[in-house]
Point group: C2
Chain length 222, copies 2
Amino acid sequence: MRKLGAVTDEYRDASGKRLADYPRPSVAVDAAVLTVPAGGPLSVVQVRDPAEGDWRLPGTFVHEGERLADAVLRGLRDKAGVSGLAPQQLHVFDDPSRDDRGWVLSVAHLDVVPAAALVLDDERARLVPIHQARAMAHGHDEILDFAVERLRAAYTEAPDPHGLLAEPFTMSELRRVHEAVRGTGLLPDTFRRAMLPQLVATEAKRVEGPGKPATRFRRRTA
Amino acid sequence: MRKLGAVTDEYRDASGKRLADYPRPSVAVDAAVLTVPAGGPLSVVQVRDPAEGDWRLPGTFVHEGERLADAVLRGLRDKAGVSGLAPQQLHVFDDPSRDDRGWVLSVAHLDVVPAAALVLDDERARLVPIHQARAMAHGHDEILDFAVERLRAAYTEAPDPHGLLAEPFTMSELRRVHEAVRGTGLLPDTFRRAMLPQLVATEAKRVEGPGKPATRFRRRTA
DNA sequence: TCAATAGTGTCTATGAGACACTATTAA
DNA sequence: TTAATAGTGTCTCATAGACACTATTGA
């Protein structure tokens, strides 16, 4: 049984060269880990670069035979103390002069993590609102732009598709998360009507301070 | 001046290893080149694999310091005699056991080429309707699915965003291209009303056989 | 009672879909 | 005139947006 991910010696191409004879790029993964803290704005995880001292997105080089998503999760764990969830690919940045360490392809990822599940190592990592996370090195601003755009697209149709909120939740809680992701306000009645068909009401009500008790909902699993 | 794309010897990471000391994957690019022949269905370029003899999507390995899109264009030229245009990235396929030649990342691309500009080497390449291009090896069916989905999304809003049709064109010609991309029919009046604001009429009319002369349009450059 | 939050009724403007109609040409 | 294609008028239905209203609680 061949070791997965190993480069075999048997294969030769039309010109008789082995796969291993060709130059190969280093492949990095960089991740924008996004979350919405309770009542807060859309925020991203940054790590401090040990050499430069500035803040940027966490990333790492892919190990032999490793899946890209696994490399992302390993990088988050090692560099930020964060347990990531389900990284999704955004784009490959392939400018040969992008990284002054050499020929590096960087595969940008988005990972969305509920604030409740987001524990990070304060020594090396921090959580900042996306608007305060600009001017990062290595084109990381662009990765963040990709990630925010992708996330906003996902949150225009479905109720909390990435599970930022623990179920069951009230309509107001849901709306506030969507407002944080979008960065703008939403009309309560229009939002409610758009989301209701995709939710199921539970028996539980939230009773907290004054005001009519709010129905708690779960996402409809269709 | 450092050679672009070269791996420098100076950089060392936290454990003192050089970038070049880490194992690196081979990186391939595979492309779904889509077009709509005059009056025909949405079609894709396939090449015959020299070793296996079966038909698949054209692809190649990335050369040192080369942009991914340039690698795609080179691969199309060398393997199919096709002059590609503007490859756009779709997805990175990273299953370590995906390619039995070793550890290979494959970056899937979409390139849309007008049928009029598509010349291919009949010895090695062919153009087939997308529904007859299935059961390809190396997961190329999945790449084709990604490409078709991306193309269809682009053609739901804008008139011929990839320029499959030479300007100026009549509304019927435009609609037939959109129908070919979508794979289903479109109501002429609804389609016309959706596209008109994004087009500018020219003075030229098409007079060809019976029927009212058709206005020729150009895409509005806004 | 009041303040606060949840939830509904309903009007309006917009636009997709559908169908019937008019317009202009070649043969 | 007829066949063929281009293009328009207009009705209907669904829906987003907006605003006002009712509902249910704690203090």
